[in-house]
Symmetry: C2
Subunit: 353 residues, 2 copies
């Protein structure tokens, strides 16, 4: 297969982890006789530094022509100190989601057996947890009209029926391939937008009689995720609730350094680790590249390259088992760098036995 | 002291737990020579059943004349099934908060040494955690204009500078009496309303140079609460984020059945357990009354009756130590009812030695 991949390393640790994902994708291409090409572009604080805006036209054009986008991370503390600034690095990410209508964010949350002891949660609590979070990504309060003055500020959370319908079908289909359970998280006892979510999802559920639908309020879900994560299979929720719950759910995995994600639209798809720029760790060789590498695996899945994706995941599992991991996960060795983890998984792909 | 207390038992387990709080307050009045009078009123689903509306005029008038409001719980599943209903039990609670301008919700989150093993979190993770959450309660997306149609729905999150200022001063003052740290939780990288929060709180922080101010995004805070709860002293946040984080924080305590809260305005104050109606447990004698009893202690604190409040808390501590607790907490006895816990703490107040 030929795949033209736009690479947006972004800020902070984005470039160093993305480099490992590319290394792994190149090994896959070699091993399976694919042709993957990579074209880099600027986004976020580094784009602001060079062009003044977080999502330059050239970046949009490169992404538009590509089959998929591999994204690193965005944000720099130097742009955080002024709450009145109107141009912000994060607009680069929001802009990509909006420009390419990437309306579904998918985040797997898996309690790896080799890492159960890394979690803040008791092992008996999380063992066997395997959740797929479907977060609506192109609407809601992040994109509604905003108003800011020194005396008053407001944000609008708006959902159209069609915004809800399209992601809901994807989430039900995902549940059909898993444990046949879908949990809608909303705040329907207070919010009008949540009541529309509940109405639409209830209607659509009739087309998927083999999937059990559960509805849960977001405050309750924030608790249930911790006290009983195994109850969840697929979680479906709106943009902001998904942002909060997916970062919270990272505690089940034991490390945010393992969390990959896909952002899917009808014509474009972007793959990114969820850990963010983590500027403090930049260029120290301690950034965990596994989330970026697992995002590359999700990219391959998206194009039906399931064997290829599975081989990457095997490599990741092996690195965890053998403690070839960065310091955030490693209790045995203290000298395994970002690059070394990438090299190990690359080697594994070249010689899996 | 004379205190006229409006009692709103509400729905579900509200009446049975509130009865224990009243029992305890009566014991305190006897022991300390106070005169506490109690006047009951309807709110929530039980008010809808009898009057058609969740917050009748008579209830408002009783609360208005009272010195304080003791609240049980609200909500009934029979009103949950129709997402299109426009009159809902929860409006009773929102109505009380709005009518009496109860703009600050205060929730203590304490990892009790006797209950560390009850938490889903590892003991080493939570031991010593003691957080006070200040949640803005009278504005934000819960009260903004709403629009609902079958094809589109929206909610507005609006904050005025004055809404933010008044709770911020209370939160800074609370931090001065504790560990001198305040964490503002917002989503200032995306929301205009959050940027106003950050602007105002930063300005006000200059009046409290002995308090360290930290700012944290809500998605990150949802994770940090679990992986490092001891970093927090006072958390200050807007309405919806506070709703989510305070319910999530209950996992630190090990049981939502222990979480009390106060909702404070300039002229009125309401005290309530945060566990909600929990209708499944209604009239089974298994509802944990401690959160309601601790809410009564917060009521006494509010009127400067610190010794009285401390005696209630001693009684609660003793009940935990001796396993005189309802089944949700009890690993030793399986027959301790809601009433029995109330009786034990009442006895303790009458004979503390
Ligand atoms: Mg996030
Ligand atoms: Mg709540």
């Amino acid at each position: 297969m030929k795949l033209n991949i736009a690479v947006l390393p972004g800020d902070g640790i984005g470039p160093e982890v993305t480099a490992q994902a590319i290394k792994v994708l190149k090994a896959i291409a070699m091993e399976f006789n694919h042709v993957f090409t990579f074209e880099k572009a600027l986004v976020g604080a580094c784009a602001m530094d060079k062009t003044g805006i977080p999502l330059p036209e050239e970046t949009i054009s490169i992404c538009d022509k590509a089959d998929a986008i591999l994204f690193g991370a965005i944000g720099d503390p130097k742009y955080d100190n002024d709450p009145l600034a109107t141009v912000r690095p994060e607009q680069g990410l929001l802009g990509l989601r909006k420009t390419f209508d990437l309306y579904t964010n998918i985040r797997p949350v898996i309690a790896y057996d080799d890492l159960l002891n890394k979690s803040s949660l008791k092992t008996k609590q999380i063992k066997g947890s395997n959740i797929l979070i479907y977060r609506e990504l192109a609407s809601g309060i992040y994109f509604g009209d905003k108003h800011f003055s020194n005396n008053e500020a407001s944000d609008i959370c708006k959902y159209k029926r069609s915004d809800i319908e399209r992601i809901t079908h994807l989430a039900f289909k995902a549940a059909q391939g898993r444990k046949h359970k879908l949990t809608l998280v909303d705040k329907a006892n207070v919010l009008a937008s949540s009541r529309l979510w509940r109405t639409v999802v209830n209607e659509i559920s009739k087309e998927y009689p083999d999937v059990t639908l559960d509805c849960m309020y977001v405050d309750n879900a924030a608790m249930e995720l911790i006290i009983n994560p195994r109850q969840f299979d697929v979680i479906l929720t709106e943009n902001m609730f998904g942002d909060i719950l997916s970062e919270e759910a990272s505690v089940i995995v034991g490390s945010i350094g393992l969390l990959a994600s896909a952002s899917i639209g009808d014509k474009h798809a972007m793959f990114e680790p969820i850990h963010g720029a983590y500027t403090k760790a930049k260029n120290k060789g301690i950034a965990n590249p596994i989330a970026s590498i697992l995002s590359a695996a999700m990219l391959l899945d998206h194009f039906g390259l399931y064997d290829e994706a599975a081989l990457i995941r095997e490599g990741v599992d092996k690195s965890l088992k053998l403690h070839i991991t960065t310091p955030d996960l490693n209790t045995k060795y203290d000298n395994i760098s970002t690059t070394k983890v990438g090299d190990f998984i690359e080697d594994f792909i070249n010689n899996p036995d």
